[in-house]
């Protein structure tokens, strides 16, 4: 089995793990965004609460959510290991920093963007997930169709009415957008999936995806802060 650990711990192996975990998280964000958009439905949070209840009581989603936590951790840990190794590969820096026309700002700042996202995830989980799952902090109950469930909608609404929290969410989503704008297409390159036909497609889809995810997640706290729903 040593060849497996050797492969995965090689520089290419680590990048492949970054790519695979990243692609999983890219899929996760689509599902997460689709669910969250229900926060904007003008029904006092009924559809969002019912959705959250369904997700929390689906065994398949439960397994996927554990996978999700594991992949976020793995992505972060390998990212940190890679960054430390990369810093060690150039101990003395340049007096004049590199200028080139090709590299995007995001591609050069993936670790910084990653740290912002990690801090966001911790704050995000403490604010919402810990309240529902661990019973930390206050959370009310509502009854929808005769079933008693957590009133997560009110928790979110109360949080987003605070300009500091909603502002922090918006800024974090911009960082996420930049991270994804490089990460999406970079994942395919790391996996060796490069093709004259498909690489331009991956790049276009990746850019569109990062705009949609960034805009989609950022607009929710903005609209809820302003009290707009549909």
């Amino acid at each position: 089995m040593s060849w497996i650990t050797q492969t995965l711990s090689s520089s290419i192996g680590k990048k492949v793990l970054m790519a695979l975990t990243g692609l999983f998280l890219i899929l996760f964000l689509v599902v997460h965004l689709a669910g969250n958009l229900q926060l904007l439905v003008d029904d006092g949070g009924q559809s969002f609460n019912a959705y959250a209840y369904k997700m929390a009581h689906n065994p398949f989603i439960k397994v996927v959510s554990y996978g999700n936590f594991f992949f976020i951790l793995l992505h972060a840990v390998i990212g940190i290991v890679l960054t430390i190794k990369n810093k060690a590969a150039r101990k003395v820096g340049y007096h004049v920093s590199t200028k080139d026309s090709e590299s995007t700002w995001a591609s050069k700042n993936m670790p910084l963007l990653g740290v912002i996202i990690l801090v966001f995830i911790v704050v995000h989980l403490m604010g919402f997930w810990a309240k529902a799952k661990l019973g930390i902090g206050e959370i009310g109950f509502v009854i929808i169709d005769g079933v008693e469930m957590h009133d997560l909608y009110t928790v979110v609404k109360t949080a987003y009415e605070n300009i500091l929290i909603s502002g922090f969410y918006v800024i974090s989503m911009i960082a996420l957008g930049f991270h994804l704008s490089h990460g999406f297409q970079s994942a395919f390159q790391s996996l060796g999936l490069n093709h004259k036909k498909y690489t331009p497609l991956f790049k276009t889809v990746g850019t569109l995806y990062s705009y949609i995810v960034c805009f989609g997640f950022a607009i929710i706290p903005i609209l809820m802060y302003l009290g707009i729903s549909f």
Binding site: I12, A88, R90, H95, V96, T98, K99, E102, S107, G192
Partner: protein
């Protein structure tokens, strides 16, 4: 032209080093960047000072020896040229030019602007060759190779191993160099026998030398004097993964 040069001077690998400023007067715009250094060195030696050490050999852009990091870019401001093919007409009268050595843990400074790039040689020694007898020169068209494949192999084979990719990469990664060498042999029939072992060994050696990892920023390809494409990195990743899964090397 009058130029102010800010050059990194370092007496040896252990020396701390620092910048020295030189005023170079009456520079001809037709001089190459290295010729301007030659003139400066003659003047320095006339004054009883030690000339600036720098690597150079063919001065035709094909050997890969010259290695100056000029104003924040390996081989200077022009695209697709080596330092020896960079001419002073690319600069303006009165310019200040900052010249530094390649910076990478795997390329330690020997003296001034000279760095030790034998780490590249060791990557080549690990597998960048065809070891099996491929016989004499075959008849033309005996081994059919599609034109696009031959072209791609030639594009990769253009790599002169100067190390500009490592110098420009924010992680000092040698992926572009190693992938060009892996690609040129993986694409051609003569390279098939050792294809899997080659990529495994070359990547292992690349890591052993302490180069960084690839973040796919594309800085390497942008500064490459031979314009080696990032496609070769994707190919090497593919080659490496399939070799690791299917080779019998445990």
């Amino acid at each position: 032209m009058n130029i102010t040069l800010k050059v990194w001077r370092q007496n040896g690998p252990k020396d701390k080093g620092g910048f020295e400023t030189y005023d170079v007067k009456d520079v001809s715009p037709d001089m190459s960047f290295l010729e301007m250094f030659d003139v400066l060195n003659i003047d320095l030696e006339k004054d009883g000072k030690e000339g600036i050490h720098f690597d150079h050999d063919c001065r035709e852009g094909i050997c890969g020896m010259c290695s100056m990091y000029i104003n924040g870019k390996p081989h200077g401001p022009k695209d697709a040229v080596t330092t020896c093919q960079l001419h002073m007409r690319s600069f303006k009268d009165g310019d200040t030019i900052v010249v530094e050595p390649w910076r990478a843990a795997a390329f330690p400074v020997i003296k001034d602007l000279m760095v030790d790039r034998t780490s590249f040689d060791r990557i080549m020694q690990a597998g960048g060759y065809v070891d099996v007898s491929t016989g004499g020169v075959p008849d033309a068209n005996e081994i059919p190779i599609p034109k696009v494949v031959a072209d791609e192999a030639m594009d990769a084979a253009q790599c002169i191993g100067c190390g500009a990719c490592v110098a420009a990469c924010k992680n000092a990664s040698a992926m572009l160099f190693t992938s060009a060498k892996v690609s040129q042999l993986a694409l051609l029939p003569q390279g098939q026998v050792e294809r899997k072992t080659r990529v495994e060994k070359m990547v292992a050696q690349m890591e052993e030398e302490g180069f960084g990892n690839c973040t796919n920023t594309g800085a390497c390809s942008a500064v490459c004097p031979k314009e080696i494409s990032l496609e070769h990195i994707a190919r090497m990743n593919r080659e490496y993964l399939s070799a690791k899964v299917s080779s019998t090397n445990v």
